[in-house]
Symmetry: D2
Amino acid sequence: MNQTNKSKRKLRLGVVGGGPDSFIGPVHRIAARMSDHYDLTAAVLSSDPEKSVRYAADLGIDRAYADWQGMISQERNREDGVEVIAVMTPNDTHYPIAMAALDADMHVISDKPLCIELEDALDLVKKTQSTGKVLCVTYNYSAYPMVRQAEAMVRKGDIGEIRQVHLQYIQGYLADSTDEPGWRGDPIKGGPSLVTCDIATHAYHLGCYVTGLEVEELMADIGTSMPGRTIDDYMGCLLNFENGAKGSMWITNAAAGAEHGLSFKIFGEKGGLEWHQENPNELRHRRLDGFEQILTRRKDGQLYPEAERAMSLVIGHPEGYHDAFANLYKDVAETILAREKDPGFAGHDFPSVWDGAKGVNFIHAAIASSRNKAWENCRLSLTI
Amino acid sequence: MNQTNKSKRKLRLGVVGGGPDSFIGPVHRIAARMSDHYDLTAAVLSSDPEKSVRYAADLGIDRAYADWQGMISQERNREDGVEVIAVMTPNDTHYPIAMAALDADMHVISDKPLCIELEDALDLVKKTQSTGKVLCVTYNYSAYPMVRQAEAMVRKGDIGEIRQVHLQYIQGYLADSTDEPGWRGDPIKGGPSLVTCDIATHAYHLGCYVTGLEVEELMADIGTSMPGRTIDDYMGCLLNFENGAKGSMWITNAAAGAEHGLSFKIFGEKGGLEWHQENPNELRHRRLDGFEQILTRRKDGQLYPEAERAMSLVIGHPEGYHDAFANLYKDVAETILAREKDPGFAGHDFPSVWDGAKGVNFIHAAIASSRNKAWENCRLSLTI
Amino acid sequence: MNQTNKSKRKLRLGVVGGGPDSFIGPVHRIAARMSDHYDLTAAVLSSDPEKSVRYAADLGIDRAYADWQGMISQERNREDGVEVIAVMTPNDTHYPIAMAALDADMHVISDKPLCIELEDALDLVKKTQSTGKVLCVTYNYSAYPMVRQAEAMVRKGDIGEIRQVHLQYIQGYLADSTDEPGWRGDPIKGGPSLVTCDIATHAYHLGCYVTGLEVEELMADIGTSMPGRTIDDYMGCLLNFENGAKGSMWITNAAAGAEHGLSFKIFGEKGGLEWHQENPNELRHRRLDGFEQILTRRKDGQLYPEAERAMSLVIGHPEGYHDAFANLYKDVAETILAREKDPGFAGHDFPSVWDGAKGVNFIHAAIASSRNKAWENCRLSLTI
Amino acid sequence: MNQTNKSKRKLRLGVVGGGPDSFIGPVHRIAARMSDHYDLTAAVLSSDPEKSVRYAADLGIDRAYADWQGMISQERNREDGVEVIAVMTPNDTHYPIAMAALDADMHVISDKPLCIELEDALDLVKKTQSTGKVLCVTYNYSAYPMVRQAEAMVRKGDIGEIRQVHLQYIQGYLADSTDEPGWRGDPIKGGPSLVTCDIATHAYHLGCYVTGLEVEELMADIGTSMPGRTIDDYMGCLLNFENGAKGSMWITNAAAGAEHGLSFKIFGEKGGLEWHQENPNELRHRRLDGFEQILTRRKDGQLYPEAERAMSLVIGHPEGYHDAFANLYKDVAETILAREKDPGFAGHDFPSVWDGAKGVNFIHAAIASSRNKAWENCRLSLTI
């Protein structure tokens, strides 16, 4: 036996949120473990100090806090303090936590939407720029290998100039009139429109990410299809992209029997691409005058490096939601670690604070369009 | 051997259009033969008398005409004259041919759209009512057994009150900038908007047929996604149905690599239904809180009679486009023949002149909405 | 109007079998009408003369007979007598009817299996050769366009030398212990093994047709999976092909909930092909080191002419069982008609009497193998 | 902040094998991390001591060994020595490593096959019984939630008595004649038949696991479909199950263009189940006289607890290969930990040493059958 001199540098991670009964809490923690780049050393898992300690101990986490203010203020002063904060709390708290973390010289992994108000989003953009810290918004669906492949194919011209885009996000968890959205339905905690803040923002990011295009203007119809319901559970939306491409979105969390139907179908001048989150290991590629091709995950040089980087398994071995989420953690960590050696390292491809700000801008543009029954500008100015 | 006294009464059919190089001509003629209710006895297959005769002879048709006026005026005076006229000519001629045929006491099977102008459509509605003749518009996709099943399931409440509707019709035959639409692209012959008159009207009918609902108002974006193209090859559309249901449409014939992607996905308070024309023998049925079910064509009492009536093959033996088209011919003939015995017979379920008029109204409402960038009323008044 | 001189030569068709309650009767008659090459002029629809007349009259058929002997003897002497006999009776009558028809200088379209005894099959081979008449066995699944495409791809080397073959035919109509096979279960009328004579013979033909290979030897396990059942409803079979390729078959009509799951999956040295009868418009093409391609029906020069010939509809318009069956009628008719002008015409591609004889040989080889629990030779000698 | 008293008991894990370039090494390590029940504290990653240290350090593993003998002998004497050994070495070393680990009072997680010789397998069965240690064979495909659901459905009678079983495992990694199997093709290291030891054993376990049945006898054809190849890359196999059910297998790693097509399709007296590893989140359920149902992963009480236990994500969020593999690690750990509190705890459902021994027995039975061209008994006696 030889005692190794563990050369593996791991980032110290603190999490805010994700206590018992949370869906997304375990997802973040598994993602961190899969990436193998983090030590989960601190956590705020409950506002009750006793509970926070107990849950943290159950999870094998050393240091438990009762609030994020305490965690950030104490950890920033430790030599072994947390370096990355992952935020998985209700939407209204994303902004203050992220700002405080950046101020404390910590990197941030934040659930979407980045925050609720556009000016707060732009604040975070500026703060990130001034601190040089990483802020990743967990638009996790863009981290599936076949989505990365689609993005690369579009960017490299494989389907030519983009012409048409269709996005769907069809869920069923509010399909019954008695279904309850929890804090997501509270306009203070969740934001001004449930369906928009909760899932439309994912689809919007996905569409912009894959096409590499900005939406110039949009025409939205937001509301509910259920008599008497006061929360928004439906969005229909027409899109005009900066390059003249046309698009549409159908977003709902009130489709009876639907599961998690996030998908895109896009067409360019030379072909089309189609992807469905529920079957994420396939990407359909239609070619003008050619037969449809089913691209699958494989690491043999046939996919673009951007896709290969996002895979951890070989051909035919399905990857899933956890694997994609772990890619965000991996890309954030490998960006941070690479910059320790090379401060000019450009960074890996994960959704940035700017992507987050565009998502917040989209939320407000869509709501305004629906309210005014009119087309609304959707470009976020770069002059901030 | 016994010479039979052929008891089978067949309807004498005359066709206008469908000459050589026509796609839809053979479809009509095969449909008539499959239904086994027609004798194809007269035809206008070319405006050149010699050609019309030659083509007719090649097809085994007795009487050839060089124009529809001649056919109608001569056939109306024969004892063995045609009883049903099938119209498969450019859109601008549907109205005069159908009017003349109805005036000559003939039944009409007309390609869609019923005609181009709304007032002409309403004229045809009135004329059909006054003559008591049958007029069927070939919205053939509604004649697939599994579409009939979907309509019956909705009508009988299997998925509850309809909440959300999404319609797609994605074709690729104009995806290349050099692709040419022929007469369909000529505003005189094809109508004021190619994509709208050619295929959106199919999707609109399908959505209204399956849901049993009228569209109250719509917001359309019609145009092209291709720089420099002057014909319409794209429509995005938001829909509000009479009962508060929400909907959207994505219609194009310029999607590179797409084939014939007509589909609907609808959700009601108790479940959802999904159907794709390219795989027409399946109907997906999602139930609130239940697993997805794949309903297939079968004649064992498990489907509604409306669907069973539309099938000619047993379980697992796929039916296709020809079989569905033949259902229209069958339903028209069996309606006519039943009324010979029982004049009060209500008629089988095929797209009527009123469906045709609603389709024409939709075309104009969508164009107006797109031009005005505003929501437009889409209800066709019943007071005609 | 111009009275045409109908130039279309139609073949006079007589049918034996296919009375009321028959599934396959309407299929044959629709196929004949779709092809537009036949006049159905005589029929034996019941052994009760009165019923045969009544059914024939209902179907619009001129001449009704009470037995096939009468039909053949009378029709052969008429100037307008039938030229083609279609046989859709229980299996034990195929041989005498076909022999009599050939003797009467008529062409034959016979349901499968060609007959029950191998020597009878070889008799029919010889008789067909000596009379020069066409005999087509309705292995109809080989007439789907995408099956024709697969056959052409293999023949032209697109997937290289064939290495592995798997065939399935999974039906459910005998899955319940109380299900009754009718005459098919009667060893006299249906043959010595229900599953083998009824459906395995289809799968066997399909596999040999697509690969262009003969089976050298086979090892079968035939019987039932249901305690107490005396008919055969299951066959498992291992195959060795003449070129060293390996194969297997899974055939049953007792799979609870199955529909009509005939399929092949084959692999050659350069790729593979997969086709499912229930979704017949698609052919999956896997390439060594490449992505899977979905070939679909299209008439734009991208498929082989053999496939294009078998299509009557353009891209994205699904064809089905009727369309494929009609291809057999079309190919038979166009062969007969072409030989009227050019006696040396080689003939279109439909399953021949020799294919039928090989199918009968397979039935007996499989039964012997299963009985002896041993590999059995399956080559039918060409020296007849 | 409160320093927690980490209450989480983790098992100390040592791995043998899985060095750089290994596919399965990272899989095991990720599985251990996902389950969150292990500390990976020792490893043999190379027989070169220096390399073993370096790789271990790169992976953040404390103690590196150059051979398993050293690891086991040293770790057994440490207070903080490894408690579980995971074996991912060539097949011929499974037996000695597992025996040594069990003798050292360690639990074992072993890759399949359990070992090469049947008597060694039976030795391991006895040794496991005598030591009371856990031995899990990584038949990982049985750990997918929908496979667990299938097993529970069969066991609870949802599809009735099993009648027919078909298993496929279709890979392409040896499809090119120049493809090289590495040590798997070496009869000493990999065992007497590549395709049999490498993948057929997976399919065999899956079939027995889901049906809950033993195979009574089998008839195999093992070899290659490629001229000149000396390794086995093909197995066709007929199966007779103990209850009279019939089955077949098609297994190959030489199918050009195939990926990882492990699947089962089974039918019982009341219905059928179908599952494909490449799309593992779906289970097709056919019911006698009913429509096909697609069961999906969901944690809302609609699946059996055995399936729910195996899921870590909610409806519509796909799980993959890593998630299933992690279930084995979780089930092993939770069995060990539960027995620390309750020595009589029966254990969770993972493939046991007995399953491993049956797999070894199958390998030899299949080889004997193929060699003798005869049906061979396949029951492993319980009297060991």
